[in-house]
């Protein structure tokens, strides 16, 4: 689905610590993993991009079960969204023409493969800054549905 401008604007790259999201994935037999990220961007108004910075268990899950949920963790006022859909990992080294849900690996890695060029990690406070920057690739979630996590109407699309 194409995301409304309101959501795109929130997820687009701005400042390194302006937004925190969680990406939740699951093993094929239902064991969830929840990973925070300070970094997101949007491609073609329907793909959410997150750099892979030691996303160990997320990648294990995505290698066997390609689905994920992005939830806004902070600041969440007026942004209580859960965005769910097919989710994959484009790792450095895959052929340029490898495609995930219509998005081409070469295009993604060329533009987002070195995230620090876009958002300098050095500007982050020391206690939340990655100790080492070793980006292995880009995680891609194609948004298929959006629901609210506002408690009283949680799950409403």
């Amino acid at each position: 689905m194409k995301l409304p401008k309101e959501i795109v604007d929130v997820l687009k790259i701005k400042e390194p610590d302006d937004l925190i999201v969680y990406l939740t994935t699951s093993s094929v037999d239902g064991k969830c993993n929840i990973m925070p990220s300070l970094f997101t961007d949007v491609y073609d108004d329907e793909f959410i991009l997150i750099p892979d910075l030691f996303a160990v268990k997320t990648k294990i899950n995505l290698n066997e079960n390609r689905v994920g949920v992005v939830t806004i963790a902070y600041p969440s006022e007026g942004k209580k969204w859960a965005l769910r859909g097919p989710c994959g990992h484009i790792e450095w080294g895959v052929p340029d023409n490898y495609s995930f849900q219509g998005i081409r690996a070469g295009d993604v890695l060329k533009k987002w493969g070195d995230w620090e060029e876009k958002e300098p990690f050095a500007s982050l406070p020391e206690d939340i800054r990655p100790a080492v920057v070793a980006q292995r690739g880009v995680i891609v979630l194609k948004v298929a549905e959006c629901y609210t996590y506002e408690p009283e109407v949680s799950g409403k699309k």
Binding site: V21, V28, F54, S154
Partner: protein, 136 residues
């Protein structure tokens, strides 16, 4: 057995959590709860709305394993992930934490903390963070 530290307890109680559930075939659903109550060493209780219960009831029945990340600023400042079986008691989600992981981006991501001696976990925390909970 997993034992939550005072810092973990304070962040969960203060800002709640994002709770990941899934069907037994791995289709995930996330709910967000703004406060939590920690009892004993490793029991975390969340009060859910009717809509939240409806949203995850089937998942919990067929697959009780959940993953929890602290809410709000805790998502990055309290870089922990808690996992374990959950059950619904009315509108209360009761989670028995059996695994604790570090989620700090970088080489410590995915470090399993509940298998470390408790004193080492406290030391790990005090050498990385100055706070003992969310800002008042």
């Amino acid at each position: 057995m997993a034992k939550l530290t005072p810092r973990m307890r304070n962040w969960l109680a203060g800002l709640g959590a994002h709770i990941g559930t899934a069907t037994k075939k791995g289709f995930p659903t996330v709910i967000v709860v703004e406060t939590a109550k920690v009892e004993g060493d490793n029991i975390v209780k969340f009060q859910l709305s009717d809509a939240q219960v409806e949203q995850i009831k089937q998942n919990i029945e067929e697959n009780p394993r959940v993953a929890i990340g602290p809410g709000g600023l805790g998502s990055i400042r309290a870089a922990y992930q808690f996992k374990g079986p959950a059950r619904l008691e009315g509108n209360t989600l009761v989670v028995e934490v059996t695994e604790i992981y570090c989620t700090k981006p970088g080489p410590e991501a995915a470090l399993r903390m509940d298998v470390l001696p408790y004193e080492s976990v406290i030391k790990f925390e005090t050498t990385r963070w100055r706070d003992t909970g969310p800002p008042k």
